[in-house]
């Protein structure tokens, strides 16, 4: 074969490929000697062939080409069923991904709502030194009436105050002054009495600390300190 004839043959095959009418692939690749080599492919690689895993036949032959939705979703053969199960599991995972993203959105919305809340009262008198002996405990509400807090006088000039809500599930913690801990009775959570640090049990964070100021005998709450670590 001369060079010009081969060129015409190649051109004709390429044109057939482009027009979608050709049944074979590039003649330069489709030779017996090149079978199995890189660049060689089956002539029917682009043709719809019957999958060897398709064991069962639909009663209506027309269903073979365009099966109804229910037949695709509830296959009889195991290989098909495995494929559908994996595909549906992937879809379920993406749905879970949506739920997690929605959760993040909810946190961001809460952040914006908190940002717009009015600031807590700057300075509120919560107790008098005369009413709280050394080792004594006093409860109060700060910054709102719903935020129950506990004031503990550890030594003569040492006062600490924390929000009573456990950082696990918001049960009220109980001060155990003799043992130096706050105990959450719901799930046996323990916090250090001096620092509010979570030291045992399920609580993930320290107690919310109430910042204090003393003036004479009077004790004032001046702020709230939320912490991830003590």
């Amino acid at each position: 074969m001369t060079g010009s004839k081969m060129d015409r043959g190649e051109l004709s095959d390429i044109q057939q490929e482009e027009e979608g009418t050709g049944g074979s692939i590039d003649v330069r690749l489709d030779e017996a000697a090149r079978r199995g080599l890189t660049g060689t492919a089956r002539a029917d690689v682009y043709e719809p062939t019957r999958d060897p895993d398709d064991i069962s036949r639909a009663p209506d032959p027309a269903d073979e080409l365009d099966p109804p939705r229910w037949r695709r979703d509830f296959p009889i053969d195991w290989p098909k069923d495995e494929f559908v199960a994996r595909r549906d599991f992937a879809k379920f995972l993406v749905l879970t991904s949506c739920a997690f993203a929605a959760g993040q959105g909810w946190i961001a919305a809460q952040h914006l709502v908190r940002h717009r809340r009015p600031a807590p009262p700057a300075r509120v008198k919560i107790a008098s030194m005369r009413d709280v002996p050394v080792g004594g405990v006093e409860t109060f509400s700060y910054p709102t009436d719903r935020d129950r807090c506990v004031l503990v006088r550890l030594a003569e000039g040492e006062l600490v105050a924390f929000n009573q809500a456990c950082t696990h599930l918001s049960c009220a913690v109980i001060p155990k002054v003799a043992e130096g801990v706050f105990l959450c009775p719901c799930h046996e959570g323990y916090f250090d009495l001096r620092t509010g640090k979570n030291i045992a049990g399920p609580p993930p964070r320290p107690l919310v600390r109430i910042l204090l100021e003393t003036e004479g005998d009077d004790v004032y709450a001046i702020g709230v300190e939320e912490r991830t670590v003590a």
């Binding site: 682009y46 595909r87 991904s97 949506c98 993203a101 961001a108 952040h111 300190e225 991830t228 670590v229």
Partner: protein, 71 residues
């Protein structure tokens, strides 16, 4: 010129779906970790991570949803 996709057997497609499932699973676990870490930080008063974590979670969701196109 039209692009024709090679016909894949169901076994080959199942392998592709398995790969996609593994990838999406990693992304979902990353989102779970992001959610718990962000919740802990937010309740602990550290709000600086909230918006970056939301962005990262949305990127994970977009990647997961984008991979569904190949199933």
């Amino acid at each position: 010129m039209t692009t024709r996709k090679p016909h894949l057997t169901r076994a080959q497609r199942t392998t592709i779906v398995n790969g996609i499932v593994c990838f999406v699973l990693v992304l979902v676990l990353l989102q779970l970790w992001l959610l718990t870490a962000t919740m802990n930080a937010f309740l602990g008063g550290d709000t600086s991570v909230v918006l970056p974590a939301l962005g990262a979670s949305l990127v994970c969701l977009a990647l997961s949803a984008g991979l569904l196109r190949y199933i």
